[in-house]
Symmetry: C3
C-alpha cells in the first residue's frame, strides 16, 4: 500500500515521499525497508536518528531527521488503524469453510461465510450469525446465539443458552456460562443451587484467554458493549458490567456486583459481591474493593482508599519506624520533665 | 407441578391456592404467571407488592400481600430444592449415548447410562461409574477412576491415575492431575522432580471452571467429600483438603498444606505451603496466610491477622496521618517545655 | 534396577546391600519392600526407625538405623534423578504414533517418533522436531515451530507463529500466543491494536496448566532457557523473561516488563508493566512490584519493600494500637505538665 493512500485512509498527511510502498508495520528499532513505524512516546524520539523504517507516523514532522512522515494528531491510534489495513493477525486470516471434523447438529443455523474448525461442536438450537470464525476444539452449547463477525478461538467453551452480540472475540480456553458458585447450607451440607440463568455479551466485547464468566443463578450475567477483558479474569454469577470498561488480567468480580460504564479495573484487583461501582471509577492493581465508591474517582489498596489518601498513608508507613523511635524518645523526655517538676 | 405437591415434597405448607401449576423458577422482579419466586432476604420484601409470580417461598406468609405462599423455615434452601425438581440446568439434561466422534480405548469400563460427547478421549484402563456425563472435548487419562453420577464438562483434562468419587462435577477447562511445581537445584539448573503421585477427589465435590489441581509428587493430593471449589483456583501438589470446605475463586493453596473441615477461603486468598489450617477457619478475601491459626477463627489481611485485630489496625491506619501530625505537635510542645525548665 | 547400579549412575555410594532390587520410589512413611525413599529434611529422620523402604537416599549413613543407604551429597537432587530412571510420569510413557483422529495439514513437518493424540490439530506450515508428544485436543497453530523432545499436554492452544525450543513441556489448558491487551482510545471507543508479534520459548522451559502467555504487539514475548512456570500464570505481551527463573502460581506480569536471570516470583505476586527486574531478585508471595529494584535482593509487600524493611514495618504495625494508646497518654501528660508550668 502506498504511503499516500494509507495517509489518506487514516486521515493524515504525508511529509516526504508518498509513493513508497508500505508492506509491514514495525517498531522504530526493528524496522527495515518497507516498514511503517510510529512515534507515540517522545522518549523514543532518539530512534528517529537510526531507524531504517520507510516511513514513521508522528504527530508533527521532525525536520532534523530526513524521513518520510505520516503526520496524524493521534499517532498511536493511527498506528492501530494502519495495522488493521496491513497486518491482519491470526484468526482473522481463516477462510470460510466447515471442517469435515466438526460436529454440527442438524438443528443449527449457521450464517454466511462461517469458518468452523476441526473438532468444533455446535449443539442443537444454536444460531450463528455471518462471518463468524469458530476455531478448533471450541464448544458452542445448546441454544447459544452469536451475532455477526465473532471470533471464537480454540478450546473455548460456551455453555448452553449463552447470547453473544456482533464483533465479539473470545480467546482460547475461556469458559462462558459455567455454573455460579451457589449453595444452600442445610444440616452441614452445601446443597447445590442450580444455576439456570445465562450469560449475555453485548457488541464489540473482547475477552482474553482462560477467563471464566459464570451464568446467572436466575436472570443474566451481562458484559456491556465495547468492554474489553484481559486473560484469567473471573466474573461471577449475576454480575452486570457496563459499556467501555477495561478489566485487566486476573481481576475477580464477585457475585451480583454491578459495574458502571468506562470503569477500569487494573490487574489482580478484587471486587466483593453485591457492590455498585459507579461510572468512570479506576481501581489500581491488587486493590480490594468492598465499600461505597464515588463516580470518576481512583482507588488503591486493600481495603480500597482514594488514591490520594492511599499515597499519603503509604508515605506515613515508610516513615513509621522513624516516627515510633521519636515517640519512644519523647516518652523518655516527658518522664525526665515530670521528675524535674514538683 | 402443582404447588401443593411441591410443598409436600419440600416439607413446606401452602397458604393460598395449592392447585396452581408451577412451571418455572424466577426472581420476584422477573416472575410471570407459572413462576415460583422466593423471599430469603427481608430487604426485598417490597417486591411482594408487585411480583407477578404464581407463588412465593417465604418463611412466614405476608398476609398484607394476597399471594400464594409456600411456607418453609429455610426459604433459600427450599428454593434450591425446588430448582432441582423443576429446572435441571445444562449438562443434567444430556441423554445417555456415546458420540461416534469419541475415542474410547477398548480397555475402558463404562457404567450404565453413560453420556460421552464428541471428541472425548477416554484412555486405556479408565473405569467410569454409572450415569456419568463426559462432555465434548474432555480428556480422561489412563487408569482414571470415576464413581457414579459424575458431570465432566467440556474441555476438562484429567491426567492419568486421577481418582474421583460419586456425584462429582468438574466444570469446563479445569485440569486435574497436572505436574506439581517441583525442581531440584544443582549447579544452577532446575532439574525436574517427576511427579508420580495422583489426585483423589472424594464424593459430592464440585470444582469450577479453569481450575488447576496438581498431582502429588509422591502419594496423593486430596479434596475431601462435600467440598466446593469456585473458578480459577490453584491447588498445588500434596495439598489435603478436608470435608465441606468452600474455596472461592482465584484462591491459591501452595504445596503440602493441609486444610481441615468446613474451612472457608474467600476470593484471591493465598495459603503458603506446608501449613496446617484447622477446622472451621474462615479466611477473608485477598488474605495471605503463612502463620499458625486457631480453630473456628476468622482471619484477614496479608500477612493474616485475626479479623478483630485486622479491623482495629485498619481503623488506626485510617487515622495515622492525623496521629502523626499530633506526634509532631507534641514534639514541639515538649521542646517548649524543656526550654522553660532549668 | 539394583541399588548398586542406581548408586553408580547417580554418583553415590552404597552402604548396606547393593544387590537389592529397586522397583519404585516412595516416601519414608509409605514405602514398602522394593521402594527407594529419601531423607532430605532432618526433621523427618525419626521415620528411619519405622520405614519399610528397601533403601534410603541420605547425605550420610545413619548407623543407628540398620537400613540400606544410597549416600549422596545432595539427597533431594539424587532422588529427582532416581525418579527419572525408575518412574517416568504420565506423558513420558506415550508411544510414538499418529492418532487416526488427529487433523494434520499436509504442509506440516513432523520429526521422528512423534506422538500425536486424538483430536489434535496441527495447522499448515508447522514444523515439529523429533520425539515430541502432542496430546489429545492440543492445537498447534499455523507456522508454529517446536524443537525436539517437547511435551504438549491435552487441550493446550498454541496460536500461530509460536516458536518453541527443545525439551519444553506445556501443561494442559495453557494458551500461548493469545492477543495482548492493547487498545487505542479514540472518541470513547477502545480500538483494538492488532497484535502481530509472536511468543518465543527457549530450551528447557516448563509451563504449568491453564497459563496464558500473550503474543507481542510487535516483536516477541520471550521466556528464557531453563525458566519454570507454575499454573495459572499470566505473562502479558512483550514481556521478556530471562534464564532459570521460577515463577509460581497465579503470578501476573504486565506488558513490556523485562525480568532478569534467576529471578524468583512467589505465588500471586504482580509486576506492573514496563519495569526492569534485575538478576536474582526474589519477590515474596502476593507482593505488588512497581518500583526500581536492586540485583539479588528480596522484596515483599504491595507496594514492595526490601524484605528487611517489610518485616520491621510489619512489627511496627502489630504494635501500632499499643503505640497509639501511648501517644494519647503522652499527650495528656504533656497537657498536665503545661498546666504546672507558669
Amino acid at each position: 500500500m502506498k504511503l499516500r493512500d494509507l495517509a489518506e485512509t487514516l486521515g493524515g498527511a504525508v511529509v516526504g515521499d508518498g509513493d513508497i510502498d508500505i508492506v509491514r508495520i514495525s517498531t522504530l528499532e526493528t524496522a527495515t525497508s518497507g516498514d511503517l513505524a510510529f512515534l507515540a512516546n517522545p522518549k523514543y524520539e532518539q530512534h528517529l536518528a537510526t531507524t531504517k523504517a520507510s516511513a514513521v507516523i508522528v504527530d508533527a514532522p521532525r525536520t532534523q531527521y530526513p524521513l518520510n512522515y505520516l503526520v496524524h494528531p493521534k499517532p498511536y491510534f493511527a498506528f492501530s488503524q494502519a495495522l488493521k489495513l496491513i497486518s491482519p493477525p491470526p484468526g482473522h486470516q481463516l477462510h470460510p469453510g466447515i471442517s469435515p471434523h466438526a460436529s454440527i447438529d442438524p438443528d443449527v443455523t449457521l450464517g454466511e461465510n462461517a469458518h468452523v474448525g476441526s473438532f468444533v461442536e455446535i449443539a442443537a438450537g444454536a444460531r450463528i450469525g455471518d462471518n463468524c470464525k469458530i476455531m478448533t476444539g471450541a464448544v458452542i452449547g445448546r441454544d447459544c446465539v452469536l451475532g455477526n463477525n465473532c471470533l471464537i478461538y480454540p478450546n473455548v467453551t460456551l455453555y448452553d443458552d449463552t447470547v453473544i452480540g456482533n464483533n465479539v472475540s473470545i480467546h482460547a480456553g475461556t469458559v462462558i456460562g459455567s455454573d455460579g458458585f451457589g449453595y444452600a447450607q442445610d444440616k452441614g451440607i452445601h446443597h447445590k443451587v442450580y444455576q439456570i440463568g445465562r450469560v449475555r455479551i453485548e457488541d464489540d466485547v473482547e475477552i482474553g484467554a482462560n477467563c471464566t464468566v459464570d451464568r446467572a443463578a436466575l436472570g443474566e450475567t451481562v458484559i456491556g458493549a465495547g468492554t474489553k477483558i484481559d486473560n484469567l479474569v473471573q466474573i461471577a454469577h449475576n454480575v452486570k458490567i457496563g459499556r467501555g470498561c477495561l478489566i485487566v488480567s486476573q481481576v475477580g468480580i464477585a457475585g451480583s456486583t454491578t459495574i458502571g460504564n468506562y470503569v477500569v479495573l487494573a490487574g489482580q484487583a478484587g471486587i466483593v459481591g453485591h457492590l455498585n461501582i459507579p461510572d468512570r471509577v479506576t481501581i489500581a492493581a491488587q486493590a480490594g474493593v468492598s465499600g461505597t465508591l464515588k463516580e470518576g474517582t481512583i482507588y488503591a489498596g486493600s481495603p480500597q482508599r482514594e488514591l490520594k489518601e492511599f499515597k499519603i498513608l503509604e508515605a506515613h508507613l515508610s516513615r513509621l519506624p522513624e516516627r515510633m523511635a521519636e515517640l519512644k524518645r519523647l516518652k523518655a523526655e516527658v518522664e525526665e520533665l515530670k521528675k524535674k517538676l514538683p
